[in-house]
Amino acid sequence: MTSRVLNLVLKRLGIAAVTLLIVLFAVFFATSMLPGDTASILLGQAATPEAVAGLREAMHLNDPAILRFLLWLVGLLHGDLGNSYANEMPVAALIGGRLVNTMKLAGITTLLSVPLALTLGITAAMLRGSVYDRTVTILSIGVISVPEFMVATLAVLLFAVYLKWLPALSSVNEAHSMTDLVRIYAMPVITLTFVISAQMIRMTRAAVIETLSTPYVEMALLKGASRSRMVLRHALPNALGPIVNAVALSLSYLVGGVIIVETIFNYPGIAKLMVDAVATRDLPLIQSCAMIFCFGYLFLITAADIVAIMSNPRLR
């Protein structure tokens, strides 16, 4: 890696760090804007004014917002996420197990959707204009154009209502055997795989088609290279950067998808925790969950950009 690439990558990482700070700031202030006094909401209607004032003092609510933000940030660096308003438990303890569940869901989906989408995307680009390509394109546009919950509802209708292969709801607590495990993860994973793959297929197809229309690929065609050799030897190595970029960008759609999928299938992950926290207005919990999601999202789009920089042969 030359110093020029290193420079660009470091610069990109610096931008990501600044962005993360701005995002944390935005999340903190959006949640601090809540109308109504947090202390009096917590203590209920029977609270005496003295009790409310005491709690406000204890929660640092009288301090200026910027100070509270800094305190929160320092707490974060120490791994202290604060306590949940709703049940007084440390947020870290609430999130821990849930985060593992969500990571499992995201991991399985990635393992399934990446090979599937790459195969479909690359073959569709190779057979551009064929019936196969058109079918893949129309289906992926269809999936992208509808909300995630509709993909989920259709999957439930097909697999649980008509075919009766799978249960409509999932609950990790009841897994005793391999078949249980498959039945639990199947519906959420199928739904997410559809959503993520559709994005990935479109981007991969576009990346490969762009490479296929370059002069050196035309040269390979003219010198009589076979179609598969042209794609595998000449086009794909150069399309690798854009493809990995597309994969990372598509995976960032997991963040939005997981929120809907965990809610509809009642999956005990961190997104479900956050949606429930929004319903009960549990601010520390919302802040921490939002922060984790923003971090994951930022990580994926930064990774996508860095791959794009590193794979650009002009910078080597």
Binding site: V23, T137, V146, P147, A168, M274, A290, Y297
Partner: protein, 283 residues
């Protein structure tokens, strides 16, 4: 896209040629727009009236789309839902595109620190996942219709800004811009009379795409119960309240989903099938 080639039948009108898919898509969009405007006058039943003894009733004469989880007429509720889904999304996308495009053009023409600050800030805004942003705002200020419109607009301003700025930067390097600057024209004139007419067509296509994103996000939020609150119901909320009918494949849960899909897919297909002249970025 390849979709243009799928429809071989082309017709000519006003000097442009239209594909059949594009025409059908435009008709679907027109139909939903009419429904959104006329809904209150053509409802077969009042949306709150319980007209069926059974809940999740099937489609039959008089109740063309069956009944919902309380036995209310589904057709009326879907027609009224169009009003909220189309209306809120249209308002939000108008604000988002107007502000984004204005800021983008100003940044491109002015340049300097204003451009740098604005671009950095809006890029950072873009790094917040849209659903998450919606969730956090709803948690903070609740979900009335004006709040929803503004939230959706704010979420999509950075995208519109980025798109318009990229286009405007290209125009900004043209000779006629230098000439206008030398003439001593104001920034307002440069934006309105020199840049905007040259980027308006791709900006309109972008408007359509962003409309789809907003419809999807609004439906998603309503589906989570964080969008429009009862007794009002947009299409996402209709799916949510009738999700109990899913195990028996009730029309009450399928029809609103299909309504969303028909609208968003039509807009996507229309944009994909716009005549090249309108769609192209480099005009």
């Amino acid at each position: 896209m390849t979709m243009a080639r799928a429809a071989t039948l082309r017709r000519s009108f006003l000097g442009y040629s239209y594909s059949l898919v594009g025409v059908v898509a435009a008709l679907v969009i027109l139909a939903w727009t009419l429904v959104a405007i006329l809904a209150p006058y053509v409802l077969p039943h009042s949306i709150g009236d319980i007209v069926d003894d059974d809940y999740f009733g099937p489609m039959r004469q008089g109740l063309w789309l069956g009944s919902d989880y309380l036995g209310r007429d589904m057709l009326s509720r879907v027609l009224m839902g169009a009003r909220y889904t189309v209306g809120i999304s249209l308002a939000a996308v108008s604000i988002a595109c107007f502000s984004g495009v204005m800021l983008g053009m100003i940044a491109a023409v002015t340049g300097g620190w204003l451009d740098t600050c604005l671009s950095r800030f809006l890029d950072a805004m873009n790094s917040i996942p849209s659903k998450l942003f919606g969730l956090v705002v709803v948690a903070a200020v609740g979900s009335s219709i004006p709040v929803l419109i503004l939230t959706l607009a704010v979420i999509y301003i950075p995208g519109a800004y980025r798109f318009a700025r990229a286009l405007a930067v290209n125009i900004n390097t043209m000779d006629f811009m230098t000439v206008a600057r030398v003439r001593g024209e104001s920034t307002f004139y440069l934006i309105g009379s020199e840049i905007l007419p040259n980027i308006i067509r791709p900006v309109l296509a972008d408007f359509g795409l962003r409309f789809v994103f907003i419809v999807l996000l609004l439906s998603g939020l309503s589906f989570l119960g964080l969008g429009l609150q009862p007794p009002l119901a947009d299409w996402g909320a209709l799916v949510r309240e009738n999700i109990g009918g899913l195990p028996f494949a009730a029309p009450a849960v399928i029809v609103p989903s299909l309504a969303i899909a028909s609208l968003t897919i039509s807009v996507n297909l229309l944009i994909d099938n716009l005549p090249q002249k309108i769609r192209d970025r480099d005009t």
